[in-house]
């Protein structure tokens, strides 16, 4: 047993040495966990922020000006004034996500209680923005109307008020969510490719055959790849969390980073095992690449990090339970944002270990089988 552990350790050190010798790879890992996380977190807004908006003001009244002025930064860009006939071209070119059309005589009709119609054009191809933005715009316009009418001495008492409070991320700053989800998706992609390609590379160069005649078992070779590649990624994750996420992006992480790192290690175990399984099905690097693409794309997009899991068809939700990334995504959200402890996230951890172990066993079975078929 001691021997085995030692072998796993030594082979892993070899793996790390190999990694160190590939500067492009090291650079890519560093790049994805720093610069890419930063750009995605700061560049992408899932909340309503910096939304592009234009107004066609056919009324030119005090009320219409008041409405225009109500679209404030950081939620909206300063509204641009358009002519009526410019709406189509502007929206076709995706210059604005929202175009509000205030009809002529709007203010007069409001004061006259004639229920004028105000049109909000929404570019509905921007799904992430359209729904929320439209709701916001409605609220803002209603607010302006209320204020305008209050000034016009129309009284109105609200019987029920609502106090909304947001837990875990009070300002709904999407850079929090995006940065952590970017880390999750980086881990998914890197772990799968690194471990699988490491196997293919050894096979293409014949080194794996060499290992297999030494007193080393396939299990040891695989464990070595798992811990070494896992460790490299884990280090990048830790640096990314402390320096980029907490440091530069100033995200308030409510949970325990130690627990997150532990969970990430479990996730890496499962993902690297999956990478090795895939590698046993591929004969060459291009084949492996083709095989890996569907896996990491699906896992990146359907694990709940990009679009909510709840929105997917039930059958797909069930299928995605087999992906370790689904569990890790909800684990990461719970631990980092909601401050959940191990007593809450243990089911996800168990799931990752279970899936990982199944994959590991499958990899073991396939490993030697593919060796003997290699001519």
């Amino acid at each position: 047993m001691r021997r085995r552990l030692k072998n796993v350790f030594r082979l892993g050190v070899k793996e790390l040495n190999s990694l160190r010798r590939d500067p492009v790879l090291v650079f890519l890992i560093a790049f994805t966990f720093t610069f890419a996380v930063y750009t995605v977190a700061t560049g992408v807004q899932t909340e309503l922020r910096n939304a592009s908006i234009a107004v066609v003001d056919e009324d030119r009244s005090e009320l219409s000006r008041q409405i225009r002025a109500a679209f404030l930064q950081p939620y909206f860009q300063t509204p641009v004034l358009l002519d009526l006939d410019e709406i189509d071209a502007a929206m076709d070119a995706s210059r604005y996500a929202f175009v509000i059309d205030i009809p002529p005589g709007f203010q007069a009709d409001i004061l006259g209680a004639r229920q004028p119609r105000l049109q909000v054009n929404v570019d509905a191809t921007a799904m992430t923005l359209a729904g929320n933005g439209a709701a916001y715009i409605q609220t803002i316009i209603s607010g302006q109307l209320t204020e305008f009418l209050n000034r016009s001495d129309l009284q109105y008492i609200q019987p029920v008020t609502v106090t909304m409070r947001t837990m875990f991320n009070p300002n709904l700053d999407s850079s929090w969510f995006m940065s952590v989800m970017q880390i999750v998706s980086n881990i998914t992609m890197l772990s799968l490719i690194l471990s699988g390609a490491a196997v293919i590379r050894e096979r293409e160069r014949g080194t794996i055959e060499h290992l297999l005649v030494m007193p080393v078992t396939p299990g040891e070779i695989m464990l070595a790849k798992i811990w070494a590649n896992g460790l490299a990624i884990l280090l990048a994750v830790i640096v990314s969390l402390y320096v980029v996420v907490q440091g530069i992006l100033a995200v308030r992480i409510s949970g325990s980073i130690a627990l997150f790192v532990f969970g990430a290690a479990l996730f890496l175990y499962a993902m690297t095992a999956l990478g090795i399984v895939l590698s046993t099905f591929a004969k060459s690097m291009p084949q492996f690449a083709l095989l890996a693409i569907p896996f990491f794309v699906v896992m990146n997009m359907l694990s709940g990090g990009t679009s909510p899991l709840g929105g997917m068809p039930k059958s797909l939700q069930i299928i995605m339970q087999a992906a370790p990334s689904t569990h890790f995504t909800s684990f990461a959200q719970a631990v980092l944002f909601r401050g959940a402890g191990i007593e809450i996230v243990w089911p996800q951890m168990v799931a990752m270990v279970a899936i990982g172990t199944l994959l590991f066993l499958l990899a073991m079975m396939r490993f030697r089988a593919t060796m003997s078929s290699a001519h």
């Binding site: 790879l25 750009t39 560049g43 799904m127 019987p159 995605m320």
Partner: protein, 915 residues
């Protein structure tokens, strides 16, 4: 025949270094034209470097190289003369394309040199006939034996009638019969083209003896030049091998004596190796056919045979790497078992191809193996030192094996194989490509191990003088053992003068029996036509014919890989189905729960507004604030409602009452949505309440705010997502597949053909790109059909506009793949790099998920720096917005610009010479 007056190549003070290793040290030499020049010397003395420089495939560092009277440092001259030079690199079939057939390989080279179809046909026929490859014209190169691969390589080199043929160790690793045939072939070709000059590097001194002019090299310097006879006279030795050793500086020569095999002491006990009826079949091909051998302890057993005769497979079965189909193999009396660690520790194995870690230094490789074989910590460093010393690796201990010449790498592999002092060594052609001195040294070590320590040695080799040193040898052919005995007994049995003749006799018998390789020695009638048609179009900057040669070859390789083709087509479809169904921002059934502290009729009425909505999904009620916390924390609820005590009483009394809503802010997008919907429900409730209680219109009803969801009236994700998915999949598959294209050739070695051919970099790049564009377009069409027919997302704009955009986009995406491929050095980095470069900007900054108009700063810039954004505008414009060419033309211009920029970048990054 030797024309000393003219020189084909002249080197003046040429030096070359790789990092700290000096490969050539101020070499000045004239190489005579029109004759057979041999470059002899140990490994790593700079032979390959010298040949590479003369061929123009290696970048000149210092000094001058004149070939055909022109400066090889000048690109113009290189382009001009490369059609007159043929270069065959080191390594078995390294410049061949394994999946292409014999004919297709040669045909590709013919096309590269711009030959017409009829010219290629007769040239190929001619070459294949004269090399005896004709019967195998349709066999893939991968399935040829080593000797046949070298003949094929030679055909490829000779297709354009070169005036200068450069062969880098062409017969290394080739069996004696094939070797003899190879040189006969060269002689015949030279007889036909007497003006052709040949420069050969070789490790076989017996071959070199037949050359017209020899250059003996050592340590990056030229030791002596002249004919074999001159060298022998100069050193007053009888054989060239001895003459060469005598030429070496004193310190290298010292200690070199002739290897003698002392008689073997008998070891009793179990046999070291016992194979009984060992058989291995791959499909219907029998690689090893009922091999039975018994080898005693301490015996040196030689295993000879042509390449591909089953030697390696036998050895792999003995080591447990391959399970036998039939029969048994026993080592030390124990049946070979892949899981038996103890036996493995007693065996040292060295495989034929280099199989150590290229990215670890020599010392690190030795350390690793010392560790894996569990050499005690205290002993390991001294063992490693001993190995470095014994195998003369001191100078290169901290170098990477990748940068070392073949022979030095073989020495390293040997060192690794014996580092744990095994009781048995299984060595698969350990001395291929190793120079005579190192080979003798190695044999002394083997003999010492065998005679003193009783180590059993099972070795395969091509060197007859090595076979003579074995206790017993066996000769294998086509999976069967032809003969097995003491070397001298075999020679006598055939009545041959030398063991080599005896072997060749056995092999010829066997070969004739199955009528395989019989070179057609009758001169071809058409042979006289060679050289008539001058090579044309070499000087053009961009020759579509050469580009087409690359395209054809890439396409053929792709077609031969059905798995790759299948995935390239099915992958996008499967992904599109998963994504179009899975990525949904349509919010329904947001999970929520209520902490109702009032439990009145009014509170229930209020809450019914939520439970009745299809957007919400009510979970079990919350009873305590702590529970509320916990259930939000574990992600069960998207939001929680708190109805205050006295809600009903206050409401009826007209007092304002405050309802609390706790949102889960972890997933920001969903929190925003929840907030909007909760507000909507409450506004409705208030309106209803107001009408009921006061009869007055609430504020919101003062004006009708009509929200028009343009381009996607139903506001369904599938409409908005599908165009993006189409873009992403075309992008990713195109870029990744192409990214592997160039770097794969770099890793596998066939890139050398680009270095040696008259083709330009752009021809190579665009040629490789075209098949991938074709694949992308097939994918594109199938995806469009999928989206329109199965997802029922109609195309509202111009289909033609979409198609044109797709062609431009696929070109830009594959060109991006070429840039990545030209830049990185490993396939791993290529996959990785393209995955990152494609995925991150596209998912985030291309407008696929998040609108571009809201991007800021670096995100905005990055988005605009990649083609995805522009094609996204086209797909979404055509699918969702009903647009055509007139509204989208700017995007076409951008995509075209990307193509040009990427081509330029790839051309700049791709090297046309080795360093």
């Amino acid at each position: 025949m030797v024309n000393k007056a003219a020189s084909i190549a002249r080197l003046t003070s040429v030096s070359h270094r790789y990092g700290s290793v000096i490969a050539l040290d101020d070499v000045s030499i004239d190489i005579p034209a029109g004759c057979m020049v041999g470059l002899i010397g140990p490994d790593g003395v700079g032979k390959s470097t010298l040949l590479g420089l003369i061929a123009g495939v290696r970048k000149l560092q210092t000094g001058h190289v004149l070939v055909f009277g022109g400066d090889m440092g000048r690109r113009g001259h290189r382009n001009e003369v490369c059609t007159r030079i043929a270069y065959m690199p080191q390594g078995l079939g390294r410049n061949l394309y394994p999946t292409l057939s014999v004919r297709e390989n040669v045909d590709f080279f013919g096309r590269l040199f711009g030959q017409s179809a009829s010219e290629r046909t007769w040239r190929i026929d001619d070459l294949l006939h004269s090399t005896g490859l004709h019967p195998f014209a349709d066999r893939p190169a991968a399935k040829l034996s080593g000797g046949m691969k070298q003949k094929l390589s030679l055909c490829c080199a000779l297709i354009h009638d070169p005036d200068l043929l450069i062969l880098d160790e062409p017969t290394t690793g080739v069996d004696p019969l094939s070797r003899r045939q190879f040189w006969e072939l060269i002689d015949r070709i030279r007889a036909r083209r007497s003006t052709m000059s040949v420069i050969t590097a070789t490790a076989y001194m017996e071959e070199a003896s037949g050359f017209d002019h020899l250059i003996a090299m050592d340590d990056g310097q030229v030791l002596a030049t002249g004919t074999a006879a001159e060298l022998k006279t100069k050193t007053s030795r009888e054989s060239l091998e001895e003459a060469f050793i005598a030429l070496l500086p004193e310190d290298k020569r010292s200690g070199h004596t002739i290897v003698k095999l002392p008689p073997r002491r008998r070891h009793d006990g179990v046999l070291a190796i016992e194979a009984d009826g060992l058989t291995k079949r791959f499909g219907d091909f029998t690689a090893v056919d009922r091999v039975t051998v018994k080898i005693e302890r301490g015996e040196i057993f030689g295993f000879l045979g042509s390449n591909g005769c089953g030697k390696t497979t036998t050895m792999k079965m003995l080591t447990g790497l391959l399970p036998p189909s039939e029969g048994t193999a026993k080592l030390f009396g124990i049946i070979v078992d892949a899981n038996d660690m103890e036996t493995r520790r007693r065996v040292g194995y060295m495989s034929q191809s280099f199989s150590l870690y290229g990215e670890l230094s020599v010392r690190q490789n030795l350390d690793l193996h010392a560790n894996l074989f569990d050499i005690p910590r205290a002993e390991a460093p001294s063992r490693v030192r001993e190995m470095i010393e014994r195998f003369d690796l001191g100078d290169v201990a901290d170098e990477l094996p990748e940068k070392l010449p073949l022979g030095v790498r073989q020495r390293l592999q040997l060192a690794v194989a014996v580092i744990h002092e095994p009781e048995m060594l299984i060595l698969d052609e350990p001395t291929s490509g190793v120079d005579p001195i190192a080979r003798d040294k190695f044999w002394r070590l083997l003999i010492e191990l065998s005679r003193n320590d009783g180590v059993t040695i099972f070795i395969s080799t091509h060197f007859v003088n090595e076979a003579e040193r074995c206790d017993r040898i066996s000769l294998m052919h086509a999976g069967k053992i032809l003969a097995m005995d003491v070397p001298d007994a075999l020679r006598q049995a055939r009545g041959a003068d030398t063991l080599e003749d005896a072997f060749i006799g056995y092999l010829e018998d066997a070969a004739n029996a199955d009528a395989s390789i019989t070179p057609d020695t009758t001169p071809q009638a058409r042979a006289s036509r060679s050289g008539i048609e001058a090579v044309t179009s070499s000087g053009r900057l961009f020759d579509p014919r050469r580009m087409w040669a690359f395209t054809r070859r890439e396409a053929m390789e792709l077609m031969r890989d059905p798995i790759r083709i299948m995935f390239a087509f099915l992958g996008p479809i499967i992904l599109a189905i998963a994504m179009a169904n899975g990525i949904s921002f349509d919010v329904e059934k947001l999970d929520y729960a209520v902490l109702d502290q009032d439990q009145s009729q009014e509170s229930q009425g209020f809450l019914e507004n939520f439970s009745g909505s299809r957007y919400f999904n009510l979970k079990l009620p919350i009873t305590t604030p702590a529970e509320l916390n916990r259930r939000l924390q574990n992600g069960e609820l998207r939001f929680a409602l708190i109805v205050p005590p006295n809600f009903g009483r206050d409401l009826l009394a007209g007092r304002t009452t405050d309802v609390g809503v706790w949102l889960d802010g972890a997933i920001t997008f969903q929190a925003e949505t929840s907030r909007g919907y909760v507000q909507g429900v409450i506004a409705n409730y208030l309106a209803e309440f107001s009408r009921r209680e006061t009869g007055r219109e609430p504020v919101a009803q003062l004006a009708e705010i009509e929200t028009r969801f343009r381009y996607n009236q139903a506001f369904l994700s599938v409409y908005a997502i599908s165009p993006g998915v189409l873009m992403l999949l075309i992008y990713m598959f195109s870029a990744m597949l192409t990214a592997l294209g160039v770097v794969r050739e770099k890793e596998l070695g066939s890139i050398i053909n680009l270095y040696a051919a008259p083709a330009s970099k752009l021809e190579f790049l665009v040629g490789k790109q075209l098949p991938y564009i074709a694949i992308a377009m097939v994918s594109f069409v199938s995806l469009v059909i999928l989206i329109v027919v199965f997802f029922q997302v109609p195309i509202t704009g111009s289909l033609a506009a979409l198609m044109v955009g797709a062609v431009l986009f696929a070109t830009a995406a594959t060109a991006l793949g070429l840039v990545i491929s030209s830049f990185v050095s490993t396939q791993l980095a290529a996959i990785f790099g393209s995955a990152i470069i494609v995925m991150i900007p596209t998912l985030n900054f291309s407008g696929m998920l998040y609108p571009v108009s809201t991007l800021e700063g670096s995100g905005w810039i990055i988005g605009h720096l990649f083609p995805a954004l522009y094609f996204q505008k086209i797909t979404s414009g055509v699918f969702n917005k009903g647009l055509g060419f007139s509204s989208l033309y700017q995007n076409y211009l951008w995509l075209a610009l990307f193509c040009v920029v990427f081509w330029a970048m790839a051309t700049l990054l791709l090297k046309k010479q080795e360093k």
